[in-house]
């Protein structure tokens, strides 16, 4: 039996004390790590919560996309659009889908979709300068052709394009096209209704509405929409607006990805033709 003062027993006690200290330290470290992990988890959860609240506020604030619908016929916005379109086009000859002097040496073919917001941007910002500088002066004429891009329903695409072409029978297609772009509604909002199309027609100066209504049934226009799509396809166009600059005796010059706001690219192409 060992005595209390036995050095061997003393060592064991020291070792035990050391072990206990080590264990205590390990436990403290483990609990510190746990506390740190818990703190980080709380911080992570806090940030995630703040993000969720902010996103929920954004979703509620942006709602269903605001009120970017087409203006009602005879509304102030529609009247402003009509005034702007009339002042841009008045006095420029029109024939079917062409704007400008039929004997103008250069033809700019504009492939567009009436519901395409890019076409709207181009038509409202870059095109007026081209019309003033090149079309009004007789240097060029512009032909509008249809190419479906933004309009989702094939049937609606055809209906709206035929409505424009039927106005062309009375040499007023460009009024219709310009008014469509000026009053374009939010994409996929279903704004292109029969009353929208008729509302535009009622804004076209001098358009005989009953003749226009009857011309809309002319199958030649539906065929023209199909042939426009075929020609866009043959040219390899993938988006609207796309353009071709044509001049007799020269190979047609395709223009894609031109600036939607700066008319310079197209004006230079017309000047070079």
């Amino acid at each position: 039996m060992s005595s209390v003062n036995d050095p061997e027993s003393d060592l064991t006690r020291k070792q035990r004390r050391e072990q206990a200290r080590e264990q205590r330290r390990a436990m403290e470290e483990a609990s510190a790590v746990q506390a740190s992990q818990r703190k980080r988890l709380i911080q992570l959860g806090g940030v995630a919560g703040v993000v969720i609240v902010i996103i929920a506020i954004i979703v509620i604030a942006t709602g269903s996309g605001g009120s970017k619908t087409a203006p009602a016929p005879k509304s102030a916005a529609a009247n402003a659009a009509q005034t702007s379109v009339v002042s841009l086009l008045q006095g420029i000859p029109q024939s079917a889908n062409t704007l400008g002097n039929p004997s103008a040496p250069v033809t700019l073919v504009y492939y567009g979709d009436l519901e395409c917001p890019f076409c709207k941007q181009f038509t409202l910002t870059a095109l007026p300068s081209i019309i003033k500088k090149d079309v009004r002066t007789g240097k060029a004429k512009i032909q509008y052709r249809a190419m479906a891009t933004a309009t989702r329903e094939k049937e609606i695409f055809q209906t709206q394009q035929v409505a424009a072409l039927a106005a062309g029978k009375q040499n007023r297609m460009w009024y219709y096209v310009e008014l469509f772009y000026h009053e374009q509604g939010e994409e996929d909002s279903g704004y292109v209704t029969e009353s929208y199309l008729q509302g535009l027609a009622s804004q076209v100066p001098g358009l005989n509405l009953s003749q226009w209504s009857s011309d809309r049934n002319n199958p030649a226009y539906a065929n023209e929409v199909i042939s426009d799509a075929q020609s866009a396809n043959q040219n390899g166009f993938t988006g609207t607006p796309s353009f071709i600059v044509e001049k007799a005796g020269q190979a047609p010059h395709k223009l894609e990805n031109t600036s939607l706001t700066d008319p310079k690219d197209i004006e230079e192409a017309i000047a070079k033709a």
């Binding site: 330290r25 470290e29 510190a32 790590v33 740190s36 992990q37 980080r40 988890l41 911080q43 992570l44 940030v47 995630a48 993000v51 969720i52 902010i54 996103i55 954004i58 979703v59 942006t62 269903s64 996309g65 605001g66 970017k68 395409c116 917001p117 890019f118 941007q121 891009t149 933004a150 989702r152 939010e186 994409e187 996929d188 993938t238 988006g239 609207t240 990805n257 031109t258 600036s259 939607l260 706001t261 700066d262």
Partner: protein, 161 residues
């Protein structure tokens, strides 16, 4: 994955995000059509009313966000910078989720640039969360795995777990 590799992957993903957001921001201000394999889908998304928030293009917001994330990654690593990276990427992830929701349910078109950015941001958020939860590396002799004393230890330094 070592801390160094984790940080490098996170930085590379952020640079990729800057490239995507930078291109889309350029397209927005230049008024040109974005390169897109899905026809007009990208254009449709980028010209929709949801392409701006309070008058600020969301592409520009994304670009600023990615630059801020890069700044937190390039700063000397500490608990605070890891938390800043996490907070920014969580915010970016939430915003990407909102934009994807708008693409699917409001615009009905998918923009491949936006989807790629959303995937990059999701990866960044996961990596940042992992990096944040791992905490600071244990410095030999510190006697503790607790973050405090080794906050200033940078990646690739001593005591990599």
């Amino acid at each position: 994955m070592s801390r160094r590799a984790l940080r490098i992957v996170t930085i590379l993903l952020t640079v990729l995000g800057i490239g995507i957001a930078g291109y889309v921001t350029y397209v927005h201000y230049a008024g040109i059509k974005p390169a897109c394999t899905a026809g007009e889908s990208c254009a449709k998304v980028q010209t929709s009313i949801y392409s701006e928030l309070a008058g600020v293009p969301v592409a520009l917001m994304g670009l600023i966000g990615y630059i801020a994330i890069l700044a937190t990654l390039l700063a000397p690593e500490s608990e605070r910078t890891r938390f800043a990276t996490l907070a920014l990427t969580l915010g970016g992830f939430g915003f990407s989720a909102y934009l994807t929701y708008r693409e699917l349910f409001s615009i009905h078109a998918i923009c491949e640039w936006c989807v790629t950015s959303a995937v990059v941001m999701t990866l960044l958020m996961l990596l940042s969360a992992w990096r944040f939860m791992r905490g600071a590396p244990v410095s030999p002799g510190s006697g503790s795995a607790f973050a405090g004393p080794v906050d200033a230890v940078t990646d690739g330094g001593v005591g990599v777990n």
